[in-house]
Symmetry: C2
Subunit: 360 residues, 2 copies
Amino acid sequence: MEYRIAVIPGDGIGPEIVTEAKKVLDRVGQVFGHTFHYTEVDMGGVSIDKYGVPLTKEALETAKNSDSVLLGAVGGHVGNSRWYDVAPELRPEAGLLAIRKGLNLFANIRPACLYDGLEDACPLKREIIGDGFDMVIVRELTGGLYFGERHTEEVNGVMQATDTLVYNETEIRRVAVKAFETAMKRKKKVTSVDKANVLDSSRLWRKVVAEVAADYPEVALENMLVDNCAMQLVMDPGQFDVILTENMFGDILSDEASMITGSIGMLSSASLNEGKFGLYEPSHGSAPDIAGKGIANPIATILSAAMMLRFSFDLDKEAEAVENAVKKVLAGGYRTADIMAEGMKQTGTKEMGDLICSQI
Amino acid sequence: MEYRIAVIPGDGIGPEIVTEAKKVLDRVGQVFGHTFHYTEVDMGGVSIDKYGVPLTKEALETAKNSDSVLLGAVGGHVGNSRWYDVAPELRPEAGLLAIRKGLNLFANIRPACLYDGLEDACPLKREIIGDGFDMVIVRELTGGLYFGERHTEEVNGVMQATDTLVYNETEIRRVAVKAFETAMKRKKKVTSVDKANVLDSSRLWRKVVAEVAADYPEVALENMLVDNCAMQLVMDPGQFDVILTENMFGDILSDEASMITGSIGMLSSASLNEGKFGLYEPSHGSAPDIAGKGIANPIATILSAAMMLRFSFDLDKEAEAVENAVKKVLAGGYRTADIMAEGMKQTGTKEMGDLICSQI
Ligand SMILES: CC(C)[C@H](C(=O)O)[C@@H](O)C(=O)O
Ligand SMILES: CC(C)[C@H](C(=O)O)[C@@H](O)C(=O)O
């Protein structure tokens, strides 16, 4: 088969890791008889430099007209920079928000699991890890505080800023369905996270999720408050199967969850719309501090490409081949710098990509 | 001196732990020649049962007319209960929100540190803990999503819920000042946490915090995005001195931070307004599962009473006497169930209170 993939290398380490993921896809094509056509799309800082905006209409159209999108990373250093001096729509991250909305990618699927052999990198104690953990976070991605009306104004001589958190039943229902469908293929447990003791949007969330749950009698639904969830992730991550939550809570909790795995360089993600279309990207950021050094871990991007094969193209066998190749290379003792441990063989970005190809 | 304290036992383990804190205050009074007058105030579930509302006007007035407030805990089980069936203003937690707003307690100060001898309870690995950690979270408590306009309505036949996140310069400035003042007495570092790459309110936050920082040239200011902070707390908690953040982010991050200490039963908190007035309460909740069993850890409430002595009454010596007594009892090997470890002597709520009194 032939597949058209829009490729967004982006900023920082993005181009390096995307190169390896394409290499792996091409190897899959060779072995299984598929052809992947890539169209490169600019987004983020690189697009600002060329066109003055983080995502042009043409770039969005190109992405729309492809079968799926592979993304490296966008954005730069977020330390002490004076955010408030740069118009929001002109920052690299605005490209990410625009493509999510523009392609209607309302469900962000982020697996967070402890990889065999990487327990050393996990910051949690052995007794907390227990039998390990393996969860998926399903984060709503096109609603909530991220896309509500916002403005800054002067009120009686005092500056005042407003952001709006809005959710309607339809938005909640469609992402809840994705979470329950995901749980059906896993341990059949959904933990829906909200702040229903404070927010109206959370109370509507809880109501609609309960309605969706009624269609999945085999799946156990648990409701959890977001502050409690932030605690439970650290105290007992093994209790979770699928976590379902809104956009901002999902941003915070998925980063916390990826960190307790100790292997953020390994975690893939998919952002899906109703159909088969999806955008696939590593869970980590653009890591400007190590960009261009050839030491970034390409595995998260390679595993995101595997997610693409499975979700968007229904190529399960091919996806498994990639995942198994990653496992074999890790079992062989090869590690990039971020997951390096005593007695292992340290490899660079390109070498890691080559090793994974050689196992397919 | 004489001090009038409004005491809110509240729900769950609240009454048990407050009893021990009063016992300790009375012991302090005896030794140092002060008299503490207590007026009991109903709030939370207990007030709903008696008066149909979680906080009556009279209760708020009583609190207002005292020198400070000591609170146990309010609220009940938050698992699968059908929140959305109960009017928000009729839930126990609404009492907490009403008293925060009613007393203008805009700065919530929550210390999170690793206690000597309790390292075993910390879920993080030794190498992550490093030299230990000792931070204070300063959370804005009367603004943001908690108190913005909210409503649920039908739009084109679809239910839609809206919450509003509003901050003005004045609200940001006064809590920022508290954070910088706190940092001046500590390691002189403030990490201000926001989501400035998305929210207008966060951009205003960043701008105003930078202005306040200019008045404290000795204090280092760092800006951090909330998702990154959720990661850094787990990966390298030792980097933090004072974390300053808005209401909802503070709710999530302070719970995460308290959990990585492994000793949430030990963590006190103060909610302050401009002056000396404050409300003092443990960082943990009402723990309905162990209520009435006499096994709850009263130390967080006792240390909250010590914070009251220091902040509201300027009784530094007396506060230290309480803190030292707690340290001595722990050094003596006494532990409540939540922090119990091998070779230690398990004690109940009342016994722990008595032991601490005996060391003052
Ligand atoms: C870059 C930023 C806008 C983005 C988000 O907050 O969604 C990122 O943190 C993420 O999680 O993909
Ligand atoms: C009970 C709830 C409303 C409250 C909050 O969210 O502020 C609690 O979680 C807290 O942190 O004190």
